[in-house]
């Protein structure tokens, strides 16, 4: 190919304080190709997309568009340059019409004081019809998620873009909707638009894309023609890092009796027919892509979301769990993945945070027994090694790792049989992470059931004795300690079943 690439990135780095999110990456997008960008969560894909969309500024490096060096100072500048980004999360105004949403960016730069709605609707319908016949006078809130996704793409198209970046566009789509999207993306390609396609799903990448670039830990790994590689190669490149010995020793010998067993659990929209068994002494991991239904399964087991079918047994006895209080009484607790939004009370004292789960324990005659509350807080913070000025300090004064320890202390205050932990070490520095992992292992060997949901493969592999992988609301498979590996998990999570027939399957999906 002699023609200059439409988009080229050279030596781009991005640092957030002391942390390098991207270091010296390159990327090349040829005219009219569909180029997949792969990497684990945190590999730096989103950072690069945000740099190209003008949301973030690179710390170093240069961006060339059509062979010319450009600076993308703001999202508006990206739009002027013809770079469109369709975010993974839908960012539309639900109360406005499709037409108004499609032209939101254009309206923003218009000078005329009044809206010409007739023209707006006509123009918007033209753009929309290229993708799907969605009436543009409809309110966005009345559309299905997949149609909203198409409106997002239409919005990018109105900017007359040369480069379109799609960030996990099929995350919210069903199989047939995804197929429709693929043919639309191919249509765009034929119109000369170059596409950057971010996805975890190997089957999609192999049926749709021309080339694939892999990032890992904020670094460029490789770019290959799809025809030259197998899904297995890509997965290996995505995860190929050495696992350092940061994790506590695993369970030796066989696990004990069944502690928690879930049979045929389903809910109305996210997952169906989930079976799960946890035995004493072991740590069970739950892996899968974000949005696969992992958190929803855990929350439903704990009565935080309604189940439509299935049963939960603890110590072999069936338990009826209608709400979270029932779960706590039965000895089941859930540690939320979003610590700040739903895990802790930031403005309240550490002692009050720890007692929140079981206030009865520190209550006599309807009044709080401050002394009992403080005693409990002192015991648990000491046991977990929370570094703080005192138990009266607000949780907001603690570091992330110590906040998480307080959240765990809250769970331990009720002497639970089973703790379901959703991303227990998200956003925590390595030191605190190691401490929390040791704590979980120690709890497990003391007979507390531990289920860990994690997006970090090394954590699942290093910490857990057994991992179940969830894909699109179903248990895709289970890996025992000796079968555990990043590639094996990714294969289950992204739907590539076996290295030998993955190509075949990819072709089948297409």
């Amino acid at each position: 190919m002699t023609q200059a690439p439409i988009l080229e990135i050279r030596g781009v780095s991005k640092t957030f304080g002391p942390v390098k999110a991207l270091s010296d990456v390159r990327f090349e997008l040829r005219r009219g190709e569909i180029h997949a960008l792969c990497g684990e969560n945190g590999a730096g894909k989103s950072t690069l997309m945000n740099i190209l969309a003008g949301v973030l500024q690179p710390s170093e490096g240069e961006i060339l568009l059509d062979g010319e060096r450009v600076t993308i100072a703001s999202p508006a500048a990206a739009q002027r340059l013809g770079i469109g980004l369709v975010h993974q999360e839908i960012a539309l105004c639900p109360d406005a019409t499709v037409a108004e949403n499609i032209y939101m960016a254009a309206i923003n730069t218009r000078r005329a004081p009044l809206m010409n709605f007739q023209k707006l609707y006509v123009e918007a319908q033209k753009v929309m019809d290229q993708l799907a016949p969605i009436p543009v006078r409809t309110k966005v809130a009345d559309l299905s998620i997949s149609n909203q996704q198409l409106v997002e793409i239409a919005k990018a198209l109105t900017l007359d873009c040369k480069v379109l970046m799609l960030d996990e566009p099929t995350a919210a789509l069903t199989e047939s909707e995804a197929q429709r999207l693929f043919s639309i993306v191919r249509g765009l390609q034929q119109r000369g638009i170059s596409v950057v396609y971010i996805s975890h799903r190997m089957a999609e990448i192999f049926s749709l894309c021309d080339r694939v670039t892999v990032f890992r830990d904020g670094q460029y790994v490789a770019t290959d023609r799809i025809a030259d590689v197998s899904p297995d190669d890509v997965v290996r490149k995505m995860v190929g890092r050495e696992i350092t010995q940061l994790y506590p020793d695993k369970l030796t010998g066989a696990p004990g009796r069944a502690l928690l067993s879930v049979k045929g659990l389903s809910d109305s929209d996210c997952f169906s027919n989930v079976d799960l068994e946890l035995r004493t002494g072991e740590i069970l991991g739950i892996g899968g892509l974000i949005g696969a239904g992992r958190s929803e399964i855990a929350q439903t087991i704990c009565g935080l979301r309604p189940a439509t079918a299935g049963q939960v047994e603890i110590d072999g006895k069936p338990k009826r769990i209608r709400n979270y209080s029932d779960a706590v009484k039965a000895g089941l607790v859930y540690l939320s993945e979003d610590r700040k939004a739903s895990g802790v009370f930031l403005d309240m004292p550490i002692s009050a945070n720890i007692s929140a789960l079981d206030l009865k324990k520190v209550t006599s005659l309807g009044m709080l027994n401050r002394r009992a509350e403080d005693r409990q807080a002192n015991e648990l913070t000491k046991r977990l090694g929370v570094r703080m000025s005192g138990i009266g300090a607000a949780v907001s004064t603690l570091s992330g790792g110590n906040q998480q320890k307080v959240a765990i202390a809250k769970q331990l205050s009720v002497d639970p049989r089973v703790i379901l932990m959703d991303e227990p070490t998200r956003g925590i520095d390595v030191g605190a992470k190691v401490e929390i992992h040791r704590l979980l292992r120690q709890l497990a060997s003391n007979g507390v059931g531990i289920v860990v949901i994690s997006s970090e493969l090394p954590e699942l592999i290093g910490l857990c004795d057994r991992v179940m992988v969830v894909r699109e609301g179903r248990i895709a498979g289970e890996l025992s300690a000796d079968a555990l590996g990043e590639e094996a998990i990714m294969r289950l999570a992204s739907g590539v079943q076996d290295p030998s027939n993955s190509k075949q399957q990819a072709a089948h999906v297409a």
């Binding site: 957030f16 942390v19 700040k340 739903s342 309807g366 956003g427 925590i428």
Partner: protein
């Protein structure tokens, strides 16, 4: 997600927390600050007007904010849970009108009053239903209730004040009598304040109010039935407004269908000046009462200084604006 991308946020948390510690100190300073402002105003007024520091004036001021103070207690608790009630003025009136009408219909005043309070609590229960079961906001629900309940007062009285001079003296004594020269009204107010301040700080049920207001999602994830908490706090706020209405009736010996219009603004202003956050999660009854006292001293001063009524309203509005700005400033820093 990996620690790499999270760490910048992490640094922000730490920076934020250091800032917040200062604000926590500032918040406790707010109560001390209010006391200083009130005392300074009192001293200044003593020099400015010979009538300020008289038993009569102080007593009138105390009487004035005592009954409203009972309503402030309920409002503060409701603000802590993250709600607001614009209907308290109407509900105070509703309680007076219901009790008064029942008394005139031949019921004894004590039973009539209990029914008036119960009817007020029922208004709160209906609002609580719309907030928790239907999912409307406290603001909209109570705005509607404010108008509807006012309408009910006008319907029941046919628009004319009920004259209740025939109330027995034993009942009127609640509003007009004194114990050792201290009006019963003030004693009742002090009891309500002390009891609820204690409950709010010590009772398990009220701790749930703070959890719910501080972080509703986290409260739900701690097994707290946040809807129940919000429902009962809404009922409590209306119930206390009803209680205040009965005392007003005993004090005035009349039930006017327009009584209490605009009272809600004063009440909310007092609670907010005293440190209750409109975002929920924080507030103290002591602070709210100080806020009430400040507004009362200001009003009394303006009257004694012969400032035009029109200016009085404007000045009170400015004080509220200043207080809400502080509230906003504190919470913007937080998030």
């Amino acid at each position: 997600m990996s620690p790499r991308e999270e760490t910048p946020m992490h640094a922000e948390i730490n920076a934020g927390s250091a800032r917040r510690m200062n604000f926590a100190r500032l918040a406790s300073m707010r109560e001390a600050g209010l006391i200083v402002i009130i005392l300074a105003l009192c001293v200044a007024m003593t020099f400015a007007s010979p009538h300020f520091l008289t038993w009569g004036n102080l007593r009138a001021m105390m009487m004035g904010f005592s009954i409203e103070g009972i309503v402030v207690v309920g409002m503060t608790i409701l603000l802590i849970v993250g709600g607001i009630d614009l209907s308290v003025g109407s509900v105070v009136c509703f309680s007076m009108v219901i009790s008064g009408a029942l008394f005139l219909a031949g019921l004894d005043p004590w039973t009539a009053s209990l029914i008036g309070i119960a009817a007020s609590a029922l208004i709160g229960a209906i609002m609580g239903f719309f907030v928790t079961a239907v999912g409307l906001s406290h603001f909209i629900t109570s705005l509607a209730a404010m108008v509807i309940v006012r309408g009910l007062c006008l319907i029941i009285t046919k628009g004319t004040p009920l004259s209740l001079f025939s109330l027995p003296d034993s009942f009127k004594a609640i509003g007009q009598g004194s114990f050792h020269n201290i009006p019963y009204v003030i004693l009742i107010f002090l009891v309500v304040v002390v009891v609820f301040d204690l409950l709010l700080r010590r009772a398990t049920a009220f701790r749930k109010v703070f959890y719910t207001g501080s972080n509703q999602k986290a409260a739900q994830f701690s097994g707290i039935k946040t809807n129940q908490v919000k429902f009962w706090v809404t009922v409590l706020c209306s119930g206390l407004a009803g209680f205040a209405g009965v005392i007003y009736m005993a004090r005035f010996g009349a039930a006017t269908p327009t009584f209490g219009a605009g009272m809600e603004l004063n009440i909310i202003a007092a609670a907010v000046i005293g440190g209750a956050s409109l975002n929920g999660g924080s507030g103290t009854i002591f602070g709210a009462i100080l806020g009430m006292a400040l507004l009362s001293v200001v009003t009394s001063s303006l009257i004694l200084l012969d400032v035009s009524v029109y200016w009085q309203e404007m000045i009170k509005g400015c004080i509220l604006l200043a207080a809400v700005s502080i509230d906003h400033f504190l919470h913007r820093k937080k998030s």
